[in-house]
Symmetry: C2
């Protein structure tokens, strides 16, 4: 394609992103995005996927990035479309997921008329955009698309926003820029590695705390060597992706509740951070600490997200001269028996450990119900774990969707609480439409259970009728199996351990999405 071809701004934007390897556009377009839609029509390299709510769109782009490492494009309708997608952009920012959010806007000359959908898009997008530009003319569209792609992949990777006014989209005069090279993370900081190695050698109770790329196989292998040298290896409670299951070393996950973190780290005299940050509480509580590093504990950072944490951990293991991993086991495949009797979060975990397909990805927003499944699947077939990252509900279903689009050859499992599932239930429709191989397990406990726990922990007092009304999902009971079928996703309601086990085995054996409503209330 010659740079002098009469491309519109929208065409140049889409083609440039495709040139840079973007293969998916998650979208919910409106009138101001119609030229972007027909530009997508003309770009066979990009698969366009409709979400019926923008939280689905942006959460799917997060899942896509976590599995592929590459940004997807989103197409959002003006400021309100951006706001609808905003919570999952927040979550994606915390996951450090690259993502190019293309936000349509009114034609440049129409903005001053303050038509009903006019809003201050830049102000809205600023807090969750590590890079934010507006294409002021079609001539800018291709270059800014390339820069947006590049910026999303520049450490710290994350969501970027490109505002595309309607007239910039439809006017000719655009061109395709030179292809940019993908930015690379900086290599490990040799001084920091040496400093950390010395501190670890001298420490009585040293800990390595990791997140980011360190949680994939090269980092985990090196971390196992450190464990063999007597270093306790932890990773942050929230992380973008962890490779785990049979054959892999399983470090410890940090505790969630602050008081348990304090207990867990008691006596630690050195903490080395690989992309991780010093531990802090998720929420503040009256009379509880928020900064959870033990007193008199030395904290040494190998570097932030600008450095590949996997390589840092490898070099740290080398610097420590650790070679032995004797006594540090990797997980062994264990096949629990078919669980029997009453359905519970424990039996669900055992069934999932039995049936999880090799190479599956697991999108986890199960909240208080997920612990036993997490524990049981340590010995399941090897898989990738993709948890909630930013704490904003509604991430699990869309992340599973996006992961499936990025890796259609893999099976997906989505673990989601009933409260979280309702936030972005529209994702089920897109799962059906796109024929994604995702088994969704909804933990139906008919409660925002975490809040019933937090109500006590914050000392807010005993819940009266109003508080109970605000934290319960029991009245009316939501029929998740019907909800799924209403959107084209086959489903099962499970009320016994055996029934759940059978439904799960069948769901993984079949193609396409399936939802199991696990009645554990």
């Amino acid at each position: 394609m010659s740079p002098s071809a009469p491309l519109t701004g929208a065409q140049a934007l889409v083609r440039t992103l495709a040139d840079h390897g973007v293969t998916a556009c998650f979208a919910n377009p409106g009138t101001s995005e119609m030229h972007a839609v027909t530009a997508l029509d003309g770009e066979p390299r990009v698969r366009s996927i409709l979400g019926l709510f923008e939280g689905v769109v942006t959460g799917a782009a997060d899942g896509y990035a976590r599995v592929s490492g590459n940004p997807a494009m989103t197409l959002l309708h003006l400021g309100s479309g951006y706001l609808n997608g905003g919570a999952n952009i927040h979550n994606a920012r915390r996951a450090r997921s690259p993502m190019v959010n293309v936000i349509g806007d009114h034609a440049t000359y129409h903005l001053g008329n303050d038509a009903p959908l006019t809003s201050d898009i830049r102000a809205m997008a600023e807090p969750n955009s590590k890079w934010l530009r507006t294409a002021a003319a079609p001539e800018d569209a291709g270059r800014l698309a390339a820069e947006a792609w590049h910026a999303s992949l520049q450490a710290p990777t994350g969501p970027v926003s490109l505002v595309l006014p309607a007239d910039v989209a439809w006017l000719p005069g655009a061109s395709i820029p030179e292809r940019l090279a993908a930015p690379e993370r900086t290599g490990p900081d040799a001084d920091a590695v040496e400093h950390a190695a010395r501190a670890l050698r001298a420490a009585r109770n040293p800990t390595l705390l990791m997140t980011g790329p360190a949680l994939t196989e090269p980092g985990l292998r090196a971390a196992r060597r450190l464990a063999g040298a007597g270093v306790r290896v932890l990773f942050e409670f929230f992380f973008p992706r962890l490779q785990r299951g049979a054959g892999r070393y399983a470090p410890e996950r940090m505790e969630y509740f602050a008081e348990r973190v304090v207990q867990s780290l008691d006596g630690t005299d050195v903490i080395v951070l690989a992309e991780a940050r010093p531990p802090v509480a998720f929420f503040a509580y009256p009379n509880q600490p928020c900064e959870l590093t033990p007193d008199r504990c030395e904290v040494i950072s190998l570097g932030g997200p600008e450095i590949d944490s996997a390589e840092s951990v490898v070099q740290l293991a080398d610097a420590l001269g650790t070679t032995g991993t004797d006594g540090v086991p990797v997980s062994e495949l264990a096949m629990p028996d078919t669980p029997q009797g009453e359905l519970s979060v424990q039996t669900i975990g055992l069934s999932i450990a039995r049936h999880l397909p090799e190479g599956a990805f697991v999108s986890d927003e199960a909240g208080t119900s997920g612990g036993p499944t997490w524990a049981a699947t340590a010995s399941a077939a090897p898989h990738d774990w993709l948890p909630l990252t930013g704490g904003a509900l509604g991430q699990g279903l869309p992340v599973a969707l996006g992961a499936a689009i990025a890796a259609p050859e893999r099976k997906g499992l989505c673990l989601v609480g009933d409260g979280a599932a309702m936030y972005t239930n529209q994702a089920l429709w897109t799962m059906a439409r796109e024929g994604t191989d995702i088994v969704t397990v909804v933990f139906v406990n008919r409660s925002y259970r975490i809040l019933n726990i937090e109500l006590a922990r914050t000392g807010a007092g005993a819940p009266g009728p109003t508080a109970q009304h605000l934290l319960s999902l029991s009245d009316p009971p939501i029929d998740f199996a019907s909800l799924a079928r209403s959107m084209g996703v086959p489903s099962t309601t499970a009320t016994t351990a055996e029934g759940f086990d059978r439904a799960l085995a069948a769901a993984f054996a079949n193609d396409g999405p399936h939802l199991i409503a696990a009645e554990i209330a």
Copy 2:
């Protein structure tokens, strides 16, 4: 209650809002809002209503305000909760609906730790908040709550935001402030009225264009006198609330599409604006005008939202000396026959006109399907019409919910397109839980039909497979009746005119919510 009682910030906030007449709190709280939840427990004057997604919460507050004229409180969980509710706050801003959004935040001393849910709430809330404060200490909470309430009712009325950090909520030291008086709109601008009266007398083709309070009975009666004097009376296409139906004067609604507005206003030499703004296009289109006032047409404003537009129209009619309304009819009650045959938007309109209960409110987000119902109900029993205001989808169901909470003695009708219904489908659950008398009609055309129209109007070209994929809801077909039942709302699928008519009559005859999936594809 003595000001010296040991109130927490949360208690003072809730009690102060209740003292000022706030009777409802629409909420989706999280850990940082637990003390606000137990404060609501202790305040019987406020009804607390849970929404399973924040777009439901804020849209309901909009509906509550449009029917009652008073702000509801919302309770939102941090920045992500605000973002989820943001699109309907945008819509509420366009409706000029007063609303006090209480946004929980981390404890003040925890913010610097940048825990996962931390975000720049003030930056996010700023664009759609006409007033925005953070309670920095419990001593501020009561006073700021009173000021928030007052600010939301100060012209132009609209949503305000009060950020409540968790420690400010839980710490004692708060007090209840003096009760503030509700702000009142300024009286009409006598000079503007006189100027407009002179211009109307001299004009050949004068038009009055209204919105706001002018669309309630006093304004409509005065507008009818102006019509009797030869003034064409129009109102904006988007408006917060219109009283219409039998016995009421029915002015003309402005056209939606720009080219039709131009055609409609052709030859108009004077436009007098009562709170309305000079007409502009909803979107820009290539080679179409955006500013739609005819050339050489004089435009005179009676004043913006700071002035009561109903009173302005009354004074304008007085100034013009108009007394006669002969020949300007009010709508007469007409009872169409039972429609027969194939179900269509036309037969739906006739059925609704037959069965709409007197005093009903109608929340309208029916998009391209709503025209025939709008036309047919001009002669239905008297009712209030509450349309989409800001163009962001997902307003219709929550507005109906909030209106029903504000006016439980009235029947509600929600008209919603299938695309719009999916945005905030969670509202159905709250309708069931709260026992609201709302009949929802989903126009199931399995398409973002407006976009199929807009694709052509924007000249974006013929839709290829990708564009068709992005604008269609047909695959898989959504079963709205099952969706509703899954959330506890009884439902019917209607495929014939007679079937719809029967279902609608039965739904209005019964208490509680009902959904009719009207298959018109």
